[in-house]
Amino acid sequence: MLKVIACFKWVIDEADIRVDAPNRKLLLDRAAFKISPYDRNAVEEAMRLQEQHGASVTAVTVAPASAKNCLKDVLSRGPDRAVFVNDPSFADLEPARTTGLLAAAIGSSVEFDLILCGEGSSDLYTQQVGPALAEKLGIACATYVNKLTYVEGENRVIAERKLEEGIEVVSVPLPGLITVLPDINTPRIPSLKQVLGAAKKPVEQLTPERLGSMPAERLKTMGVVAATMERKRLRFGAGAEDIRSVVDALLKEGAIG
C-alpha cells in the first residue's frame, strides 16, 4: 500500500495582523491561527491518492505544544493519523530547524513512500522546507507541481512542474518528495461527520527528548518591523466630479499623459 505523508504548518492568519504604523510594530495578539493554505492543497492531494490508490495518509507538523488545535483541523480534512512534533520552544522556528525536526521525526517514526508539502508557508514563505527535507532524507524531489500521477507497480510518480519557462514533466522515483502549487486541486471543506470523527483519530506526540535531537539555529532573526508604505490615502466618491478630480491629480503627478 502506498504510504503518504502530508506536512503542514500551523500559522498566524496574516489577515488578522494589525499594524501600529507610528511605531512600525506588527500587532499579532488578536490573530487567529490556521493551516497554511498551500499545505491544505498538500493534504487534499494526499486524500486524492488515498481515494484513487488506497494510500495511507499521515499528517506531520512541527509546532509549539500549545498548537494542538491544529490536529483536529488537519485530521478533519481526511488523514488517518497525525504526528505532532512539539515543544513549548517551537514558536517561530527558522526553516533549517523545522527541516531538521521533520527529518528526525519522519526518519525515526513514520514509514513513507511519498511526502507532500505546500510550495511555501503563508507566514515565512521561505519555500525551503520541502526541498531541504528531501535532501536531509536523501530522497528525490520535484517542486512547484500542479499535477501528480502515481504509477502503480512502478514505484514512481509523474509530476508536472509549472515553472517560469513552461511545463516540465518529470518522473520521480519513490521514496520521494513533492511540493505542490495551489492550483493542483481545490481543498474540500470538512463535513460535520469528518469534524466529529477527527478527535478519535490517533495522534503520535514526539518531543525533542524522544527524538534525541534538537537542530541548531542557522538563521537568526534580529528583528521584525511592519512594512511601511508612504501613500497619500485620499478618498473620492463615485460621481463624475470626483472622478475628474482624480484624473486631474494623476495628470499633475505625471502618472498619466
Partner: protein, 319 residues
Amino acid sequence: MAGIWVFAEGAEHTLELLCAGRKVAEQLGVQPVAFAPDEVLARRYLAHGAREVFVLPGLAPDQGLEAYVPVLAQAAAQEEPDVILIGATQRGKEMAARLSARLDTGLCSNCTGFEVDAGSGRLVMERLMYGGAGVQRVVCTTRPQMATIAARAFEPAPAGEDDAKGTIRPLSAAPSSPVKVLHRTPAARGSVDVTEAKIVVCVGRGIEKKEDVKLARDLADALGGELACSRPVAEELRWLPEEVYLGISGKKIKPQLYVGVGVSGQIQHVTGIRDSRVILAINKDENAPIFEAADYGIVGDLYQVVPILIDELKKTLKH
C-alpha cells in the same frame, strides 16, 4: 579560496547578483566568483567584475538545472566560500534550499537587501514575511552565508574599466539524477511583460464575470497601459494568463501608475505592487485594505466608476 559566489539561471540575473556580490566582496576583502554555462558568458562575467568563473558542463537531455546541486555542494565544500547568492527563480529556490541542507547552513529566502556588518563579517539581510506585512532582519550564524535574490532587485554589474582579469575553471559534470525530465512544454509567451509596463490596470475579484474583464481592458487602453490581475483571477477563475498575476508569489511591478479595479488588496497582492509610484484603487467596499495602500481611492461600484473614468481620460488625454 574564500569568496562571494553568485549563481543564477540567466545572464542578466547573474550580472545583478554580481553587482550585489561585488559590494560584499569589497567590504569583506574577498573575490567575487560567478558560475557560467559556457566560456563566452564566463568571459563576460570576468569583464563585469568576477575574479573567477566556474564553468558548468552541459546536462544530459533528461536532466534539469537542479542536477547541478551535487556539483555546487562539492565545490562549496572544497572552496569554502563566505557567501553564496542564488537567483530566486523557481529552480534557483529549490537548488538553494537543497544546497543549504547539504552544507548545513542558513539560507535567507528572497532577500530584498542587506548590509555588511564589518566587525563580524556577517550580512544583515532583510526579507518580507506575513505576505509582505512584515520585514524580517536575519543573519546567518553559519558559513557559507546563503541568500536567494529575485531578478531586478539589483542593477546589473557594470563592465570593469580594465580588461577581464581572472581565471576560468571548469567544474566536473553533474552526476545522473534520480529525477528524469520526460517532457518540456515552453510557456506560450504572451506578447506583454507587465513588469515593463509604465501603467498597469489590475483586475480583481470585484469583476463579476469573465466578459466584464473587457471593462478593465478598455480602461487600460484609454491609459495606454497593460492588463494584470490578482492571483485568484488567474489561478482559480483563469480569466487571464498566469504570467500577469501580481503579488508576492507572482510578478512584482514598479510602474508609474497602478490602477486596481475591484482589487480587495490582500497583503500578498499589495507586496507585488508596493513599488508602484502612484496607486489608484476602485472598490465599492470602503473598508477594503487596498485603500490603505493607495494614493487615490475611489469608493464606488466599478461598473459605474470605470466607464466615467474612461470618458474623463479620453477627454483629458486626447489634447
